[in-house]
Symmetry: C4
Subunit: 319 residues, 4 copies
């Protein structure tokens, strides 16, 4: 599962890249900043595409806890109603007098059964209450088995987070210029074998029906084995680059989008992780360089100051 | 674990591909539409090949729930019988009078023990009942531990689903023709690094004993890094293609089968996923093209209309 | 993680392959039939090398269940002794009269606490009994949490099983001969992308101190994408082969061992699986071929008769 | 995810390798002996970088158990306070007289509820106590569900441990010399497909501002398929080596650091595992060879004596 990083000449156009040829009709981006695709699939069968497990896995913790709590209440209300239905006199030890109080007692008995706490002060009497509580306690165990799996699934999902510099830059580089951006690991996880691929999507002309062409950009380096601090990814704009000789205005007119794909191995969790983002033409600063992030450290370590991570200094071009 | 996509010349025959040379004796397919292999292994030791875990993992949810419920009832019946055997007077707090009622009480006590709800109204009295309930409660915990693992295993299995166009087509393509089919992601999972391999299995002659030859087809593109919408896989029928100059009738006579293997990385679950299918000769439409699936979107996104996914329009060949 | 299958010339000796150069001093095999290595590491720190989790994961189910049961009994005996120590009068509701009966009651109370069944008939009275039962119930929950994880770990381990033909053969092959063996999938799991590597370990001379050389054998085919039935792996003995011109007696004198490494992807569990075995010189049959395993099937499928899997027919060599 | 092992010429300098060009200002190492990076990221948002799950996964067992115990006590104190707040008369069956005794009873009731042991001797009376105990028992189940997942996560993490020889050596090798070190598998897990990469980081001159250059060293062998015993990794110091003609003093002056990256597949757990370490200039012994570790075994196995693993014998150089 290596990223294919083959250099493409202008002739080597990706016919669709999964986006189709119509993507250029408006000034929209293909990949959102958070890495999701800016697409929409209509008429997809609802139940086919639905994945309850996936939803429960990816929702926020707040939402997840609310869902669990709600499910707990709803199920208890359901079973309490069942106990009321067969007659609350099938529950021994209840102390409620009014119907509402009796319902509350049934509700609490239901909770004590489904969590298997089973104090026994309120207890089933006779066949039907015993049967329902039997079913409920099993349902409770299975339900919490499910919650266990979900909690583990939520925790063990890869949570690598790559930090991208807010802006990409066109900076002086050796005798020429280069397209550059900077990444850092926002987590304490150890990321290794980090690979990056940059694809430029460029409109051929200003014509509204003109198609987009896709170029995999040649990088100074597309793999690092260690990723302890930060990494500046550099695409030298030489004669092989689709950006060669392109001015700032031309780049804006071409509605260029630079799609970034990063793949790494999370050494902490022994998992492959992926990250995506994109830089649209207006997120590129010309004639700039990234601020130095390395600081002199008292300790015997190499240190960086992450507060300067997004920092950019304007520079003139040599040429 | 990359798919090997090497182009094979007619001489480069796969000697068996695991199917053996006798597969051509009848007009049967090797790979079923759902990706399973159309084969049968006889005399395989039953217990060797059996995998209870796998069965419990891959059966439908309905079946799984029924199995769990049945196991729950059977185990409770077993323990209730044990309590009857040692004498139901070893259970305190039972209210049944007839033997059947007493058995029911033992059954419910068993349920309260195995789920560890333990109200305590019915409770063990003396050594044997205490011992059996001790064993039962541990068995219950282990059983539900098992169910927890199974539930998690069922949920966390990769559930990517690739949608294949119902028909493959032989379509005009540049100056020549091409064998094409279309795929889409039927789930909301993000699939990336999608690789495809197409193997053509072609009978050499009409002779019933003639062997099949296998060709890995050259694709216009066999990998895409993103798979947000759909992807049309194209095999150009040029002079290197085993389909070069083959007519529709000849293809039918050769009982051609196109075996599709797709491999992708599910970004949502950080798992490799695989999908297989095949197109038999009668599932190929000659002189057709896929309907345009891209729609103009009001929103700032690229949109497709999945209801047109299988749609095919007849076209004449240029030549 | 691809198997490297590079053809080695006789000069290209593996210096140690992790076995060292002294391995040839006796007629022993390097890889056992079950794929484990026939080696011994002495003076390895005991606790460093010990992996309780691994042991609990790989032991037989019988042994695992016994370990769980034993742990359950031992822990209950321990807590029962604690309750006796603080005075059994701190447990309410016990009915035992003699010390042994009281100990039994404490034992059963311990079991009811650790499984959290908690009938409540026997119950803690006062501070110390309450405290101990508080700790015990938590220990019980953690213990069963652990058992849950272990059970899941045991079930979800890859359990692919490759069946190897009992004998390898030296068979006529085209104009020459070939070293061949046969494999099959003994499970119902779908194995795909099966790769094989065969390494021959050959002693240079009869001299007891002579070193072994290792050759990676050139295979007719070292990868199949599907593995529905069986696969005969073929090493053609041509002029590049280290077996070229070697007679049966010479092979025995060289104490040849053929180490087989197989790697596959288990499509059912989405896991990489590995298998190893070896054929020693006396497990190779000269002038033989494998029996045909394919059978005519009434159904519309390709069928094999696994009872013939190990079958070998003697044949004369053409030359 | 293969390690890239391309030989680099002196011109082929890694621009930063993620460490930046300032790393040479002091005599510090980049990779610590335990494989962690000797770096520091400042001003990283605290909550962004924090991963509670990761911390709970990687802390020692002692610490983990203390955290669980502490959480258990704190939560019980919290709920006991709640029961006191609503009035301890809402708990039936308590026997305490003083406030402290009543608090203890509430504390024990809380424990019996959160573990779902629920003896029922102490039990909730009325709405508020019932409600709180309902919430507590659910919280308890979820908490222990979480603990289950954590325990499983802790156990199932890859725990391969590569043992590195304490010193690397510059040893006579064929006609030249070689940089060598030795590794062994410190666990009983079966490691296969072991790949190694050695990167040398060398300062260009004694100048305090001089930059470091990075060289991927050419190895005699960078992959072994089996790793049953030990493996001596050998970098021959030929004319392509950056160490060619370098004396011991020069190596010290260049503050050389050899960064080792090892990748393997743990056959026991079906997981990729990684290991890192580094040898600093003062950890290299010149003119030495590793002691023979292979021992004559009575049994029919190849045996090594791990107590000699770190052993080095001084030898004179031939030249």
């Amino acid at each position: 599962m290596k990223l294919k990083n083959r250099q493409t000449t202008p002739e080597d156009e990706f016919r669709d890249l999964g986006f189709g040829s119509k993507i250029s009709s408006q000034r929209k981006r293909m990949v959102n900043k958070d890495g999701s695709f800016n697409v929409e699939r209509r008429s997809l069968p609802f139940f086919e595409s639905l994945s309850i497990y996936h939803s429960l896995l990816s929702m926020s913790w707040l939402k997840f806890n609310l869902v669990v709590l709600l499910a707990y209440i709803v199920v208890n209300l359901f079973f309490a109603s069942l106990y009321m239905l067969i007659g609350v006199n099938h529950l021994g030890g209840i102390s409620g007098v009014t119907t509402f109080e009796k319902f509350l007692d049934a509700f609490f008995f239901s909770g004590q059964t489904i969590t298997t706490v089973g104090y026994g002060v309120i207890h089933p009497v006779g066949f039907w209450a015993s049967l329902i509580s039997l079913v409920e306690s099993m349902a409770g165990l299975l339900g919490f088995a499910l919650a266990t799996g979900l909690l583990y699934g939520r925790f063990s999902r890869p949570n690598a987070k790559i930090l991208y510099s807010k802006k990409a830059i066109i900076a002086p580089y050796k005798e020429i210029t280069a397209f550059e951006f900077r990444i850092a690991n926002a987590r304490k996880n150890q990321l290794i074998e980090v690979e990056v691929q940059v694809t430029a999507s460029i409109k051929e002309s200003k014509d509204i029906n003109s198609k987009r062409k896709f170029y995999v950009l040649n990088l100074e380096r597309n793999l690092i084995n260690f990723f302890p601090l930060t990494w500046t990814i550099v695409h030298p704009i030489d004669e092989n680059s689709p950006l060669y000789g392109v001015s700032e205005t031309e780049l804006i007119d071409s509605e260029a989008e630079f799609i970034i794909m990063i793949k790494a191995f999370d050494d902490t969790f022994s998992q492959s992780v992926h990250s995506r983002t994109s830089y649209l033409y207006h997120e590129i600063v010309w004639g700039a360089k990234f601020q130095n992030i390395y600081v002199e450290s008292e300790l015997n370590v190499t240190a960086v100051d992450m507060s300067k991570f997004h920092g950019i200094d304007k520079v003139g071009f040599l040429a």
